[in-house]
């Protein structure tokens, strides 16, 4: 057998294994990495839960650079994976193109809207979830100053910030909210050292409850808050366990549910617009044994009250992304 034949044989084997993987779902994690203890990890947990319950398997890739976005999408689509879930707003422009080229493949994008017939766009009303943890922060704060640390400075993170400020101000109109963004590049999702430094700066200015919506950077925020003996609020995944007695609560964004549902629906999933909020359990706050001691009944009552009013529509939380501005500072 000549060398060429060997190569052809190998290629043929590869092709067979590729078709064998047909209709296996796939997930693409964003630059924060699937172990960011936050957004991507929630997505990974959803996928894992599906795999455990159904015994199925899925393909995954963790992006290392911006340039890989479209490449990874095309690779999965060409290999016949269906549906393909991507965790992160930043996939929008890449998906817009790839979705056109693979009309028979179903795509699910989380945190962004892509208007294509074969795409399901899952968006969360983060402003609602941030509002209720804002209520908790204002209730728990003794100094009347609370902090917010965002990851990359993008409208989505400002949406978190804006909802949080509204919740704080509604509970304590005199409260001050100090806001910081870690950076303007994707590296801002993964700079725990800077997150810790920003936290120390906010604590120095009097903040005693700090809400981190910053992916991997948030781990540094929670650490610095625990070191200084002040409260912090986690995001996306339940982060209460990281520093019991210091993490006041976590704003749960059920990315895992979004991924799980997408995998469960399989190739026939319904496309279109999918909004997850407080009302349908897509968002919530975390209460478990790690924060039971500090999350007092008083705080809980106020948070539950705000939650009920948002669900009933009595409280309308302003969405930053609707007009790119926030009514309160």
């Amino acid at each position: 057998m000549t060398l060429m034949q060997k190569f052809l044989g190998a290629a043929a084997t590869l092709a067979i294994s590729a078709t064998a993987a047909l209709a296996e779902p796939a997930i693409i994690f964003d630059l924060g990495g699937k172990f960011d203890k936050s957004f991507n990890q929630a997505a990974f947990e959803g996928a894992t839960r599906w795999a455990e319950e159904t015994g199925g398997s899925f393909r995954e890739i963790e992006l290392q650079s911006e340039a890989q976005r479209e490449q990874a999408l095309r690779r999965f689509a060409e290999a016949g994976n269906n549906p393909i879930v991507m965790a992160g707003f930043a996939f929008a422009s890449a998906l817009d193109e790839v979705a056109r080229d693979f009309p028979d493949t179903k795509f699910v994008i989380i945190d962004m809207v892509v208007d294509q017939p074969n795409v399901r766009s899952v968006v969360f009303n983060e402003h609602e979830g941030s509002y209720i943890v804002g209520v908790a922060a204002a209730k728990a704060s003794k100094t009347g100053t609370v902090g917010f640390i965002g990851g990359m400075d993008i409208p989505l993170i400002r949406k978190f910030a804006c909802g949080y400020v509204q919740g704080v101000k509604a509970t304590n109109p005199d409260a001050t909210v100090i806001q910081n963004m870690t950076g303007t590049t994707p590296a801002a999702w993964n700079d725990p050292v800077k997150g810790a430094e920003l936290t120390k700066a906010q604590i120095a200015k009097g903040a005693d409850v700090i809400y981190a919506a910053a992916g991997g950077t948030g781990v540094g925020v929670l650490q610095a808050a625990a070191d200084a003996g002040v409260y912090s609020i986690g995001v996306d995944s339940n982060q209460n366990y990281l520093h019991p007695g210091s993490v006041l609560t976590s704003m749960l964004k059920r990315v895992d549910v979004a991924v799980y549902n997408a995998f469960k629906d399989g190739p026939d999933l319904e496309t279109g617009f999918n909004v997850m909020g407080l009302a349908n359990g897509g968002l919530d706050y975390a209460l478990d044994e790690h924060n039971a001691g500090i999350f007092t009944d008083d705080i809980k009552a106020a948070v539950e009250d705000a939650k009920a009013k948002i669900i009933s529509g009595e409280i309308q939380v302003h969405d930053y992304m609707s007009d790119n501005s926030c009514p309160v500072e």
Partner: protein
Amino acid sequence: MDFLQFLLTLDSTIRLSVVLLLACLAGLFSERAGVVDIGLEGKMLISAFVAAAVAYESGSAWLGVLAGSAASVVFAMIHGVASIIYRGDQIISGVALNFLASGLTVVIGHAIYKKGGQTPTLTGDARFTEVKLPFADAVADVPVIGPIYSELISGHTPLVYVAFAIVPLVWWVLYRTRFGLRLRAVGENPASVDTAGVSVVAMRFRALIITGILCGMAGAYLSTAQSAFFGKEMTAGRGYIALAALIFANWRPVQAMGATLLFGLLEAISNLYPNIDVFGLFSIPVQFTQALPYILTVVILAGFIGRAVPPRSVGVPYVKER
């Protein structure tokens, strides 16, 4: 801004400068000896990882620093073998080390701890805690001097004091010892050092060992003092900023301290006061403050203000004439 706020800004400046200072001094040794070191970032990263892992396993932060420095020295030696002995391109070798560190840390970290490259959180003696200098509480109420002593000077991690103590030491070694004279000569005119009967290769290797140790301390500071775990890519470009500071400081140790403190101050200001309002006329956006270190370096390099004069033989492998 009141006095206390001012002190807090300076306090934050010191914390932020230390990594840059150590890395900058590390770069100073290697570049003064004629070896360009763009691999500061990679050496810091591998050291940050090894320091966190060893500190976690042994429960001692100091052991972590030692192990981190050792790992960083190993990287420096790889750089040395490639660029001094085999006369490879020093930039390429440095960049290769950066990539190697970025990949190795995550792969090994994930293999051991299964947390995607993160190490577990360090607690107790496994991390550096803040040292309270004697009488810090007693003098805190004395006006002006009290807060300066108790807020600004006291209450940092041990590595901070070590870093600032190293600056005069580096100056002394570089300008007042025979070793320092030869080191500088190797970077300026290696042929003359060779004529004097001193081995250029050995001098450059010695310089790289010091570079490795200092870089190792910088990395260990990141993972065991400034935060309490290793996370992938946690150096976040600080090695490159240190390199910029080195150019800004004209490859001199005391100026290096000045440059890194200035860069630290700019970062502290951008953290504490994101948007600075100038007399209500206009506001300086945070991005400008963050970019200022790079802008200043480019201005210096372009020769508008002052002039950056690198060691003459930097980046040139030494070939002995036969």
